[in-house]
Amino acid sequence: MKTNRQANIRLNEDPREILGVPPDADDARIRQAYLLKVKENPPDRAPAAFERIRDAYEVLRDPRRRALHMFLSADPHAPLLSLLPANRQERKFTGPDPWLAVLREK
């Protein structure tokens, strides 16, 4: 049970995210998602994406590897910024005045 068997996904990547399944997905759901993703990314057209999908599935289908991935995926050296949600930043429309104030400022 070595720590770095999978070559195409990093430890800090969530294999469930790669397959697009929720955390509570059962084996059947995981397999279904895997097959769908493979159909979208066949090995002859998108080899890199296919390898990632396959490796993510390999991690999830084997309970031992899945467990090991869970233990080792915590990265204490990850940038603190990575804790922030990855969703798009909110950008408020303010009207022209605050923008023009920057231009007028001496």
Partner: protein, 870 residues
């Protein structure tokens, strides 16, 4: 006006004696050259000198030009007031300045903000082109108020500048109040080459920014003229795009960022500042940044406060910061739940410090909380995987170091009570559940046992058994094999191990019972078939030693009935056993017949003698028996066949599980043949021969085999480097280390994991490596196996060009072996004495006495009558 300008304001007075005629000004070229290079200040100084000397209109014109350049330069560097003051002075003092300073005057007037006055000039159809360009440039760089430009009364209503400005005002307002369509960004009124082109790009950049198309926005920012007025918004936009959060912003820009992006950007900047502070490792810098980051997080993402606190706490633990101060900066203690313990365990695991009991203790904390929080069940496969991971961590530590670490830890460890201060009751309840101190995680055995009982599978049991095999007490490994067999009865491996173990202890009946069970499971398994052969041979050996020929007959009949006994050179070994049986019966004729048959099968009488000698050793034959039944002199045909013959028999020995040894009396001849081999031997033969030599501590012979092997080159180089490493004397530790490291690197490149494993074990000095005197390699840097191609080449070259076995630095005291060995084709028989140094004996004795830990080193004794052949 600044002090800096005082020297420049001392303008030269009008000339006292001027001729009035147009004359060439000396050094004019020099002044023009300086101006061309952009060196306005020295140009002014020189022009002033010239004008003082000449005092003619030409020198005045030159001076005014220099001043114009200086004014421009001051303007460019932002010293607008100074530029304006200098302009006024020059304009007032020199009559020729009015025309020559007209272009510069546009710049100066633009800074007054008097747009109307500046633009009115544009209505003049006779306006020189350079003046027009200067005004447009001023508009490009100075005009920030597009509304004023759009309504400028000095220009006609349909003037392109006014219409462009009006369109831009409308578009700017549109993109900052809501999403806009692409058509609204086209702005045909604004020329791409006009003075307002940068505004057009800015409007587009803002539109892309709000569309979250950050790449397109950045592309626009890159093409905005940095001297233009809209460029002032670039830092703020870049900050909001996250590409540059470190830039110091103006007050208005900060305000814009806060209004557009809210407080989230402040948190990002606080976290980046904290990262930088952590890099400095200075407590005084880190603690205030922690406080700032926590405050910013509380405002922007209150739901992330706890997670951030845990990460920061672990970082602080890594740096050994005072925990109470950190806690104060964090605004409270971090929650010690499963997430925290996992993070902390990983942090310690990935540090450069020694891994071992402390890491396992942290993983145990994680396990407790993970179970309590429902991450996994106490007896689920995840728990088993965790136990295995902890066991693997302990295996990373060398055996001796682990023993020290275990005792130190057990003595000093008092739990994690300080971590549970100020914790919620739910967290404290988990810790309170484990009242009894249980340090099971200090040893691999209970960890493996827990893992295997929860989730029994082949890999886990294999790991456990491999570890147990290294223990000196055979019962440890037997227990593991029994557990394996109980847990997974249909696996043949534990039965084979139990059989082998019983066989080694001489418990052949038990061994047979285990074998029968294994055969029931998987009779065609090659390992089972080999084990059956090996066990029957061991049984035959016992009956031979007990001098029970009738039982030997039965054994031999059973052996001959085995299909696996009829392949390769195995029939020759069965005949050697029959020869031994005839020797015991004192039937010289039959013995001679078998010897002849063996020689025929193995292709060499020397090989037959060696096979019979080893079979005889198994049966406990005496020296007298060998003397009587084996020939004293042997003819070798071809003359250089002893190495091949010996290697072939050694391979046969390995094959049937009876590791053969080489008589020391053969050394001289074998060494001679190896030296003259010139590539006529096979790699496998050489390696087996070398290993067989090492079994009886015949390092010189093993060394010679490694020379011949290294000369062959190719893929076997790594193996022969390992053989060389084993064959070298202890005091050649640096050379040994080089050989091992080069072997690992070669193995890595050729993906030969067996070489890598063997080298690692050899360097660790584990018992499995069969040598254990290399204790210094158990130090922390044992795992450093990197070597460049050049270094590997250098090691190979050095070893290939070292044909002589290194002798001890002190003068060796040699004794001759008691018996002579004679090969009939030797030219110089008297030189065949086999030397054996007392150092060899002393070394062997030292190695035997230096058992590592509780391990017992096996040292095979040489065959009886080893010097009696030929």
């Amino acid at each position: 006006m600044g002090v800096k300008l005082n020297r420049e304001t001392k303008l030269p007075h009008p000339p006292v004696r001027g001729t009035g005629a147009s004359v060439p000004v000396p050094q004019e070229e020099e002044v023009r050259g300086l101006l061309a290079k952009g060196k306005a200040k020295p140009a002014v100084e020189l022009a002033k000198e010239i004008h003082k000397r000449c005092g003619c209109p030409e020198s005045e014109a030159l001076l005014v030009d220099a001043y114009a350049a200086r004014i421009r330069s001051l303007w460019k560097t932002g010293l607008k007031e100074e530029a304006k003051a200098l302009f006024e002075l020059v304009h007032e003092r020199y009559s020729s300045a009015t025309a020559r300073l007209r272009e510069v005057g546009v710049l100066v007037r633009a800074s007054d903000g008097n747009l109307e006055e500046l633009l009115r000039t544009l209505n003049d159809p006779a306006l020189p082109q350079e003046i027009r360009r200067a005004i447009e440039n001023a508009v490009r760089c100075q005009v920030c108020d597009l509304s004023a430009l759009a309504q400028c009364a000095a220009l006609t209503a349909d003037h392109p500048l006014r219409t462009a400005a009006a369109a831009l005002v409308k578009a700017f307002a549109a993109v900052t109040v809501g999403p806009v369509k692409e058509a609204a960004l086209v702005l045909p009124e604004v020329s791409h080459r006009g003075p307002l082109a940068a505004w057009k790009i800015l409007v587009r950049a803002i539109a892309y920014f709000y569309r979250q198309d950050d790449e397109a926005c950045e592309r626009c920012l890159k093409i905005i003229d940095p001297d233009s007025a809209p460029a002032r918004l670039i830092p703020a936009l870049r900050t909001m795009l996250r590409s540059r959060t470190d830039e110091r912003l103006t007050f208005a820009a900060d305000s814009l960022v806060a209004q557009v992006c809210g407080n989230k950007l402040s948190l990002r900047r606080a976290l980046e500042a904290l990262e930088s502070a952590f890099e400095t490792r200075v407590q005084g810098k880190i603690l205030p940044e922690i406080q700032r980051a926590m405050t910013a997080c509380d405002v922007a993402y209150p739901e992330l406060v706890e997670r951030l606190r845990q990460h920061i706490h672990v970082r602080a633990l890594q740096l050994d910061l005072p925990i109470r101060k950190v806690r104060a900066a964090l605004g409270g203690a971090s929650t010690k739940n499963a997430y925290f313990w996992r993070l902390y365990a990983r942090s310690v695991e990935s540090s450069r410090g020694p891994i071992g009991p402390v890491t396992c203790a942290l993983w145990e904390q994680f396990r407790r909380h993970a179970v309590a929080e429902g991450w996994f069940e106490e007896n689920g496969p995840e728990a088993a995987a965790l136990y295995l991971h902890m066991a693997e961590l302990l295996l990373e530590v060398s055996v001796d170091s682990l023993e020290t670490l275990q005792s130190d830890f057990a003595e000093q460890f008092s739990g994690f009570q300080t971590f549970y201060e100020d914790q919620p009751p739910a967290i404290r309840a988990v810790e309170a559940k484990y009242k009894k101190r249980d340090l099971y995680f200090l040893s691999p055995s209970p960890l493996f046992e827990r893992a295997c009982s929860i989730d029994p599978h082949r890999e886990a049991f294999e790991q456990w058994l491999n570890w147990a095999r290294q223990e000196s007490d055979w019962r440890v490994a037997d227990y593991v094999a029994e557990c394996w067999h109980r847990a997974i009865p249909n696996h043949s491996e534990p039965l084979l191990y139990l059989m082998e173990s019983a066989e080694k202890r001489g418990a052949l009946n038990k061994a047979t019972a285990f074998l029968e069970e294994a055969q029931k499971l998987d009779a065609v398994n090659p390992e089972v078939r080999r084990a059956a052969l090996r066990l029957l041979i061991a049984q035959t050996g016992r009956h031979l030693r007990q001098r029970k020929p009738h039982l030997v007959e039965q054994d031999l009949a059973a052996l001959e009935a085995l299909p696996q006994a009829q392949v390769t050179d195995r029939p020759a070994y069965l005949l050697a056993l029959r020869w031994t049986c005839e020797v015991i019966r004192s039937d010289a004729e039959m013995g001679s017949s078998f010897l002849s048959q063996i020689g025929h099968l193995l292709g060499s009488p020397a090989a037959a003698i060696l096979a019979c000698q080893n079979a005889g050793a198994l049966a406990g034959l005496t020296q007298e028996d060998f003397d009587r039944h084996l020939p004293q002199k042997v003819s070798l045909d071809p003359a250089d066949s002893l190495v091949s013959a010996t290697a072939r028999v050694c391979i046969l020995g390995d094959d049937v599980g009876a590791t053969f040894t080489i008589p020391t009396a053969w050394h001289g001849r074998l060494l001679q043949e190896l030296t003259n081999a010139h590539g006529g031997l096979e790699g496998r033969q050489l390696e087996t021969l070398g290993r067989a030599a090492l079994r009886t501590n015949q390092k010189e012979l093993a060394y010679a085999a490694s020379i011949a092997g290294l000369e062959m080159g190719g893929d076997a180089e790594a193996r022969f480097l390992l053989l060389r490493a084993r064959a070298l004397p202890e005091w050649e530790f640096e050379r040994r280390d080089d050989c091992i490291t080069a072997a690992v690197e070669l193995g890595r490149r050729r993906r030969d994991t067996s070489v890598i494993n063997e080298a690692v074990e050899l360097r660790r000095g584990r018992p499995g490596a069969k040598t254990n005197f290399f204790d210094w390699l158990d130090s922390e840097d044992w795992h450093d196996f990197s070597m460049t191609t050049e270094q590997i080449h250098a090691v190979l070259q050095r070893e290939r060009h070292s044909p002589t076995f290194p002798t001890d630095r002190s003068a060796p005291f040699r004794v001759s072996f008691s018996r002579e060995t004679m090969f009939l084709d030797d030219e110089d028989l008297e030189n065949d004495d086999e030397p054996f140094t007392l150092d060899d004996v002393a070394r062997l004795a030292a190695e035997m006495s230096q058992a590592r830990g509780r391990r017992q080193k096996k040292v095979r004794r040489d065959l009886p009558g080893q010097g009696d052949l030929f």
